[in-house]
Amino acid sequence: MKLEIIKMALESLLANKTRTILSMLGIIIGVSTVIAVFAIGQGAKKAVDDQFQGLSANSILVMAMRGKTESSKLKTADSKVIVENCQHISSATAVIQENMAVSFESEDGTFGILGVENNYFEMSNIEIDKGRLISEEDMDNNEKAAVLGSGVAETLFLEDEEIIGKNIKINGKTIEVIGIVKETGRSMGKSSLDDSVFLPNSMAEKSILGSKAFIMIFTIADDVENIEIASKEIVSSLRTEHQLRDSQADDFRIMDAGAMVGAAQDAAALMSLLLTAIAAITLLVSGIGIMNVMFVTVAERTKEIGIAKAIGGKRGDILSQFLLESVVLSMIGGVIGIIIGNSVIFIFRNTELITLAPSLIGIIIGFSFSVLVGVFFGFYPALKASRLDPVDALRSE
């Protein structure tokens, strides 16, 4: 019985193809949006996780004040000041960062250039794949030596090519490749670590990036419990080093790992919330569209309802037929929305534009919402149809 009524609902929808497609559009857009929202949300979460992966809970990051890099007195040597003066900091390393064109013979590309200290790799859990890492001697002698991220090596060199010992050019300067690190899948700031070239920061600052490059100092507190006191020690030692008077504000800012991850996650969650609100509004509007279409359908088929009642159709039969029509309509819209949403994710996930991660929850919620919209907005028109007076319905044309 129900199967036959579903078949009749489908036949009725197929009889008005244009109207059916137009009324499904809202649902299609709504469900696609829900799926995209979840993919963006998951993607943002993944991006946050990737960015802060390897960052231990007792990490503290020191950066120049936002937008004041040039006026800040923060310098790479401050890492040593921090280690020497802060009792609760066990290690610190300075990183300077900029994006630049890197070339090898005819191959080139733009990569993140990271000027690092020799202890950076150990602190960031980056392991060597081929050759060697930057040593203390490289630092002391300002060696023109580079360690490549796996992505840089893949872009500039052939698969089986001997890379170690080759000279690459950065900003016109010739630098020798001394090592390649293993793939990390992580990023720092806007740059992927795999798409970065690591240089001794003394040489990088002097010869390539200059003193205006963005400076960060990674520090590790001796215990998670001591994050707060260690942060205070950093502030105090850097204010002394930068000779700031009491009336002057800090020319650097400090973020601990928890605050960094929390802020990034909050931003990702806020974005998801906004997009979810857009998806909810789209679904609401599409639901009203379906309701409108169902009212038109009921009005058009009033006579049919009268006949159905005359030949023994019960209110429940009429109600379920019209309700099924709106549910089938929204379900088909939901399925198309899932296909389109996932196609969009598939297309954009391999681009640099946005990080997207397909989400099963997104698909389930999107589809459930489409069915819910069909039931909710189809119910009133169906109820109205089922309550029509059979004689009045039979008289209508």
């Binding site: 036949e11 009642k309 005359a310 023994g312 019960k314």
Partner: protein
Amino acid sequence: MDSDSSNIRLFNVSKRYGAKYALKDVSLDIKKGEFVALMGESGCGKTTLLNIIGCLHPLTDGEYFLDGENIGEVRDDYTLAFIRNKMMGFIFQQFNLFSRLTALKNVALPALYAGTEKGIREEKATSLMKSVNIEDRASHKPTELSGGQQQRVSICRSLINNPDIILADEPTGALDSKSGIEIMEIFIDLKKKNKTIIMVTHTAEVAKYADRIIFMRDGKAVNNNYKLTSNY
């Protein structure tokens, strides 16, 4: 008239819309297997009476006994739908078939509402269509059928649940005279099968097939036992 053998018995039935009476104090008995024609001018209340007998309209006053049961006060949709589905078959002037469904599915629709299994209802529908010689039109949509064929489909639909009562509202009104005669011959066959037929008509040519004629005027049955001299 012997009321015990009555299939349908109305006692002082009235139907009022606001202050205006469409039916006023109509009393009649229709026996099982009787073929009755309702005649009268337009607006005299023939169709209203047919709709009341067919449980499509609630009556305002009076009593309505169907097979001895007083159903005049029944307002429950489920019961009324059950009566219309199982005990009555409707035939309309404009056929009122579902344009999206094939002839076979139109015939089988009341059985679908009755909850009959697909195989059984389609077998019944095919057999009924065979009995009125339209089995070769089973897969056609109503728009692909002639008026006479559509009315036969409609007759088959009215018979699918094997009801005792057939209610026909101007069944030949939209047909040419040849098709009209063919439909009336089917009605005679139904009468022979002991079906009670109540038919609204304007024309004496059609009414002459009935056992008796109930004449109506201004919502009242002025003569409910008229017989035409020339019969079929």
